[in-house]
Amino acid sequence: MNPLAAILVRDMRLAVRIGGGAFMGALFFLIVITMTPFAVGPDLALLARIGPAILWLGALLASLLALDRLFATDHDDGSLDLLMMGGVPLELTVAAKALAHWLTTGLPLVVVAPLLGLMLNVDMHALGWLTLTLAAGTPALTFIGLIGAALSVALRRGGLLLAVLVLPLTVPVLIFGVTAANAAIAGPTPFSPAFTILCALSLASLVLGPIAATAALRHGLE
């Protein structure tokens, strides 16, 4: 087995075992979305209008939830030292870890999104489009968050710092994600320009995230 595949398998295994925290994001997402109608009140029209925004915000917060442990656990038990001594470039190792993280925390969000959309009175035919925007946008959230995770790796309470560092960087993703979703649901702006930019943001972060995170990890050497 290739070293990167080994990382992917290990991280996914760790995530689904006890104490791993996969699906915690999806549960958090579920709670946030369930609470919204209670806070906003039973105004179906209003719910439908803010539905995509709430879904996107929920996904954003949920995907940050487990991110601070991405490198911290490996740092604490010495695995990170050995990961740096592997024969594969650290950038690829970091990307493989991020991919495993997205598969165990981002993908479940995408899978439950249609169900949660129903609770927010999102139109049936628009659910598919809304889910598609999340599928295209959540990788960007993970790979941008990766940078924050690498920067806060050695800090005990890195989670809070991570949110402060990462959330501003995710603003473009949020804007174009919600714009694309709204366009699919209500119009009148077309869906594809916003969606294309969202995809571009994801692709760019897929490349830049691991490079920046690796630089942060190397800088933290000492």
Binding site: P3, R10, L14, D77, G78, L82, M85, G87
Partner: protein, 200 residues
Amino acid sequence: MTELQAEGLTCSRGGREVFRNVSFKVPAGAALIVTGRNGAGKSSLLRMIAGLVRIAAGRLSLNGGTADTPIAEQAHYLGHQDAIKPSLTVAENLQFWTRFLGSRSDIRPALELLDLAPLADLPAAYLSAGQRRRLSVARIVAVSRPVWLLDEPTSALDAPSQGRLSNIMRDHLAGGGIIVAAAHGAIGLDRARELKLGVA
């Protein structure tokens, strides 16, 4: 003939100079024991060779090693932290590191050598400190790399395991390997050179 060579190494951490101007040569088949009081920089020196601490000044080279490959990728580092995931089994932990460090070899012989085979399917959370140490040693046995950097390798090990470890180290040296170990006491290698840090 491989040879690990350091010239005028200087290490500073957190703005404080830990050691300066350390030079040594370790040819293939030889061991270097690094000694010194607490804080003299034994662990820092090992981590420096492993590429985990920046070299403030000086040069470090592995002559005759694989060209264009950093020393870090030709070395094993056995530190105080054992890089073991408690929720994975003993075999899964070892299997992962073997694959990640780029070896296709079977993990069975390494498990048996360290007497861990009966524990293979046990989650690593249930291992004792000595058993965790043995699992770390199994990692460096399973993947072949010429330079071994061992930070107090005998800590937490009982007498039979210490004997097993010195046999493993002797085999490694006999096969042309290089060992740099930080230690306070004897680690069961005779005819090892000694480098004393912190005497200036």
